[in-house]
């Protein structure tokens, strides 16, 4: 079956612009996660959605970052007023509850 998909695969933007990154999780997966992977670094947790519960936003680095998950399926990560330090690969993962996380291919964001 289809895995986790993310779009766009690459995004180049200018400093100060807003960007939206999209994640389509595996159908039926109740949990959805966003991580950020910077060059030479591991994956950094950003936000976690589980069913209808309030999301865990503890990993969001600043109030310029926000995410929503509509209808318990598709999620959008929004970065406002992008900065050069936001350049990274943004990875989305989904999982059935209390089970393995399946990752998408990521969106490579470059802020000029």
């Amino acid at each position: 079956g289809a895995g986790v998909s993310q779009s766009p695969s690459n995004k180049v933007t200018e400093k100060g612009k807003d960007v939206e990154l999209r994640c389509d999780p595996i159908s039926g997966h109740t949990a959805l996660y966003w991580y950020r992977q910077s060059l030479g670094q591991g994956l950094e947790f950003l936000i976690y959605f589980q069913g209808n519960s309030a999301p865990d936003k503890s990993g969001l680095p600043s109030d310029r970052f926000s995410a929503e998950r509509t209808g318990g399926s598709v999620s959008t990560l929004t970065i406002q007023r992008t900065q050069q330090e936001d350049s990274a690969v943004y990875l989305c993962a989904s999982s059935p509850q209390l089970a393995e996380q399946f990752f998408g291919p990521g969106t490579r964001l470059t802020v000029l």
Binding site: Y33, Q50, P105
Partner: protein
């Protein structure tokens, strides 16, 4: 604060040799320790995982060794093959209060040479 420390940063192993990657953690609440394999341009994929009630888990050529008292765990790849060349991440999770977020190490770039 880096809660999972991974070493080495890069590793070169000859084909047929044993690749060993080490991780150490600080949070004693961690109760699930997966290893992920990532190829360029792809997302990480789960390779093997262990819970602290066992000291070793083997799946094919891949083995996790776990030392609870030392708060360390390692990945061993036996008979390493060129197709194993990838970046490997250890991770840990504390499944309390239903929080499923993973804390990752910084990754090891493994190169298997013929």
């Amino acid at each position: 604060q880096q809660q999972v420390k991974q070493s080495p940063q890069s590793l070169i192993v000859q084909k047929g040799g044993i690749s060993i990657i080490n991780c150490a953690y600080e949070n004693t609440a961690f109760d699930y320790f997966p290893w992920y394999q990532q190829f360029p341009g792809k997302g990480p994929a789960l390779l093997i995982a262990i819970r602290p009630d066992v000291s070793e888990k083997k799946e094919g050529r891949f083995t996790i060794s776990f030392n609870k008292s030392a708060k360390q765990f390692s990945l061993h790849i036996m008979d390493s093959q060129p197709g194993d060349s990838a970046t490997y991440f250890c991770a840990a999770k504390a499944s309390n209060f239903g929080n499923e977020k993973l804390t990752f190490g910084t990754g090891t770039r493994l190169t298997i040479i013929p």
